[in-house]
């Protein structure tokens, strides 16, 4: 691997040129209407906003993989934990839910965590033959106590106004405050996973994180008291004005008329521009911090550990602690992106947390962009996200063209109907081609 990381002399113009190309794609999407592009700024800005959020996810994954060589296959889980942030912090409190069982749930969770901590202490402190007996006993008693506290509380909360609520509700605080909280949730989980799985062979970390990702998503789907599960949590507050309020604002309508747009299009575009600005600020701040960190002695140490663990640990660097640190940091950034995504959608729908889309597609973005390079990850995210969205439109058109010579039978019909699935094939091919022919990505690490 080390030889693929060596810097070749690459043109300094490469990154700006690719950046311009990606910008041109978005401008084309916004301005031209033809078979390939929709010609709507509304659509272009929607893609851009989700692209910016994806870029934050790739920054997180890039910290873990690009700086430290850790393969996190549970991105979707950390994203989902981050998405919990706005639900628990920013949504309106639910009448009566807290009284129904809030303290008891907190107590049960504390007992659960306490049991795990106690069990690990027992394992460490108690001598061998006795600990084999004692640790399972601690776990068993803790589990019984936890369920005894947890189950009635959950039933009480879920019974409370179950048609429209049935969840514990939020605190009603400003939604921007919930973003760092989402990051904190993801970081806490990453600390737990990292404590257990880091230091094992790299594949094992991938498999362990794959598991934790599946479990976190399963929790979100099934624990209705937490965020209504698959009933979905809507009405997450916004940091920007609502389109309807803008349309009812005479000042805004007058301005929209000045620009030569009708009020509804103008309001949709204005809201999306505000989001784009907000996401752009977060992204730029993160890149700035990441670049400063990477250029500092800390960044040099991380790369030294990545490139040669043995040598780094011979120099007295604590490889395991540094790995844990970067794993937690990267996951926090992914969690932040999750919180932003839910805020942008205004909706938490755990049914949509699919690992192909939220774990492996993010990986494609990182590899394609150039692992180890923050700007590369951002470019990869914007480009791949654009292609992912447009492939659903382009796939059927391509299929239509390819199958034109076929008679209009059931085979052609079937191929046309399943053409949107071509995007998976396309992404697989892109990943394989980049891994093979440009393993360092479009914008390689310097």
């Amino acid at each position: 691997m080390s030889n693929t990381r060596q810097a070749d002399a690459s043109s300094p113009l490469r990154a700006p040129l690719i950046f311009l190309l990606v910008m041109a794609l978005f401008v084309l999407e916004g301005t031209t209407r033809n078979a390939l592009f929709s010609g709507s700024w509304n659509s272009a800005l929607t893609i851009l906003n989700m692209g910016l959020i994806s870029a934050i996810m790739t920054l997180g994954v890039n910290m873990q993989w690009g700086y430290a060589g850790l393969f996190n296959a549970g991105v979707v889980g950390f994203l989902a934990l981050g998405a919990l942030g706005p639900v628990l912090v920013a949504t309106a409190p639910v009448e009566g839910a807290w009284a129904a069982g809030g303290p008891r749930v907190l107590l049960a969770l504390a007992v659960g965590l306490g049991t795990l901590a106690l069990a690990s202490q027992v394992w460490k402190r108690v001598k061998a033959p006795l600990s084999f007996l004692l640790m399972p006993l601690v776990l068993l008693l803790g589990f019984v106590l936890y369920r005894y506290l947890f189950d009635p509380a959950v039933m009480a909360i879920e019974a409370n106004n179950s048609a429209s609520a049935g969840n514990i509700g939020g605190l009603g605080w400003p939604v921007l405050l919930s973003w760092p909280v989402g990051a904190l949730f993801a970081a806490a989980a990453a600390w737990g996973v990292g404590k257990v799985a880091l230091g094992l062979r790299s594949d094992y970390l991938a498999i362990a994180t794959l598991g934790i990702g599946e479990i976190i998503v399963a929790v979100l789907r099934n624990e209705e008291w937490l965020a209504r599960g698959v009933k979905n949590m809507s009405g997450i507050p916004r940091p920007v004005p609502y389109e309807l309020d803008l349309q009812n604002d005479p000042g805004f309508v007058a301005k929209a008329a000045d620009w030569g747009m009708d009020a509804s299009t103008a309001s949709a575009i204005w809201v999306k521009l505000l989001y784009a600005g907000l996401f752009g600020i977060v992204l730029l701040a993160l890149i700035l911090l990441a670049e400063l960190a990477l250029k500092s002695p800390w960044g040099r140490m991380m790369r030294a550990i990545r490139d040669n663990e043995t040598a780094a640990s011979a120099m007295g660097k604590n490889v395991k602690a540094r790995h844990l640190q970067i794993f937690v940091l990267g996951s926090a950034v992914i969690g932040l992106a999750g919180a932003m995504m839910v805020t942008f959608d205004g909706l938490l729908s755990p049914g949509g947390f699919n690992p192909l889309r939220y774990t492996f597609l993010i990986w494609v973005m990182v590899i394609v962009g150039g692992s180890g390079n923050n700007w590369g990850s951002v470019l990869g995210a914007l480009l791949i996200w654009f292609l992912w969205i447009k492939a659903e439109v382009w796939g059927p058109q391509l299929m239509n063209l390819v199958t034109a010579p076929l008679p209009a039978g059931s085979l052609r019909q079937h191929l046309l109907e399943s053409a949107p699935h071509m995007r998976f094939v396309a992404m697989g091919l892109v990943l394989l081609l980049v891994l093979r022919f440009a393993p360092r990505g479009l914008v390689p690490e310097k």
């Binding site: 691997m1 060589g69 393969f71 296959a73 589990f143 189950d151 257990v196 799985a197 094992l200 062979r201 790299s202 594949d203 094992y204 991938a206 498999i207 362990a208 794959l210 598991g211 934790i212 599946e214 479990i215 399963a218 929790v219 789907r221 099934n222 690992p355 192909l356 492996f360 990986w363 494609v364 590899i367 191929l415 109907e417 399943s418 053409a419 699935h421 071509m422 995007r423 998976f424 094939v425 396309a426 992404m427 697989g428 091919l429 990943l431 394989l432 891994l435 093979r436 393993p439």
Partner: protein
């Protein structure tokens, strides 16, 4: 009498379902373990190999049914299975040729091969969706039950019924035969010995004139055959849905790691350990406790069924923490 009822209930709700699920996991884990032992990476595309192969088997099954060929009481899919395996092997060998061989010859780090397998996973997932769609497909035909609940109740006079589905019996029989054939092949035949030698010590095996590319091809074919068999059995037992096969990747990895990655015997044991723990932990034991004379208040269910992944995950973590090479001492490269 109540003890008998309890035993029948345990057989019906725990032992039989867990045994057939365990057999499917064992076949899947055998494939993962072989790839890990010989090619030295964790193949993330294994779940989608199962899905893709099963999709091919379903297409062939439909073809056979259209021609009016059937196996009577047995599902036609068994007849289609060898053809599905052959087609899927051709595809998998193609991916080895085009994708993995390059990294093998460059001696890339295992994690790069894992990433390449993610690419292959996307590709196979997309192809499966393209070929057969994303709907639930039932493709079992022939007789459904070997023993039905009513027959059993009438025969035994017990309150609790026992049912044994044909798909469950087929799963166990086919798994037993596949394992028997595989272990015989690995321990007796020249190629099998060469495979084991290559897995144990690559350099030594190369010195003694073993052709590595042949070993690799053989490994892919065997792993694909096991994967497609496992996928077809799983599909016959439950139903075919492309995304389900991605989700059983975690229990399969857990099974392979529990037994010790690279150790075929361990993979089989791991499959059954994971399956029995999953079913035992998510089964509500109230009924059985009642038969035994207890009056429990709750359902006596340790975890709700949605969290069955959690069981695989916990087993995985416990094994990784306390015995990183698995119960049967696999290898750690």
């Amino acid at each position: 009498m109540d003890i008998l009822n309890a035993i029948v209930a345990i057989l019906n709700f725990v032992v039989i379902p867990a045994a057939s699920y365990g057999a499917q996991l064992a076949l899947g884990a055998l494939g993962v373990t072989l790839i890990y032992g010989i090619l030295r990476f964790s193949n993330f595309a294994h779940g989608d190999t199962m899905a893709f192969g099963t999709a091919l088997v379903i297409l062939v099954t439909w073809g056979l049914q259209a021609m009016g060929i059937s196996l009577g009481p047995l599902p036609t899919a068994l007849l289609a299975l060898p053809i599905g395996i052959a087609l899927c092997s051709v595809f998998v060998l193609g991916t080895d040729r085009v994708v993995y061989r390059f990294y093998r010859q460059k001696r890339s780090e295992p994690i790069i091969l894992v990433m390449a397998s993610v690419g292959v996973m996307f590709l196979m997932n997309g192809l499966t969706r393209l070929v057969i769609g994303v709907d639930d497909i039932r493709f079992d035909d022939g007789a459904r039950f070997l023993i039905s609940v009513q027959d059993f109740k009438a025969w035994s006079g017990l309150a609790e019924g026992l049912s044994l589905r044909v798909s469950q019996v087929i799963t166990l029989v086919v798994t037993f035969l596949s394992c028997w054939a595989l272990f015989r092949f690995l321990s007796r035949s020249r190629s099998g010995k060469a495979m084991r030698a290559y897995a144990d010590n690559e350099d030594l095996a190369l010195l003694s004139g073993i052709d590595p590319e042949r070993i690799v091809r053989l490994t892919w074919i065997i792993a694909t055959a096991l994967a497609v068999t496992a996928g077809t059995l799983y599909g016959l037992d439950k139903s075919f849905k492309a995304f389900n096969y991605f989700q059983i990747l975690l229990p399969i990895f857990a099974a392979a790691i529990v037994g010790g990655l690279g150790n075929p015997l361990g993979a089989v044991a791991g499959g059954f350990i994971v399956a029995f723990s999953e079913v035992a932990v998510t089964y509500p034991w109230k009924k059985i406790a009642t038969y035994l004379g207890f009056q429990p208040e709750g359902l006596l269910q340790l975890l709700s069924t949605e969290y069955k992944f959690a069981v695989s995950f916990v087993i995985l973590i416990v094994v990784l923490l306390f015995r990183p090479t698995g119960l049967f001492r696999g290898k750690a490269y």
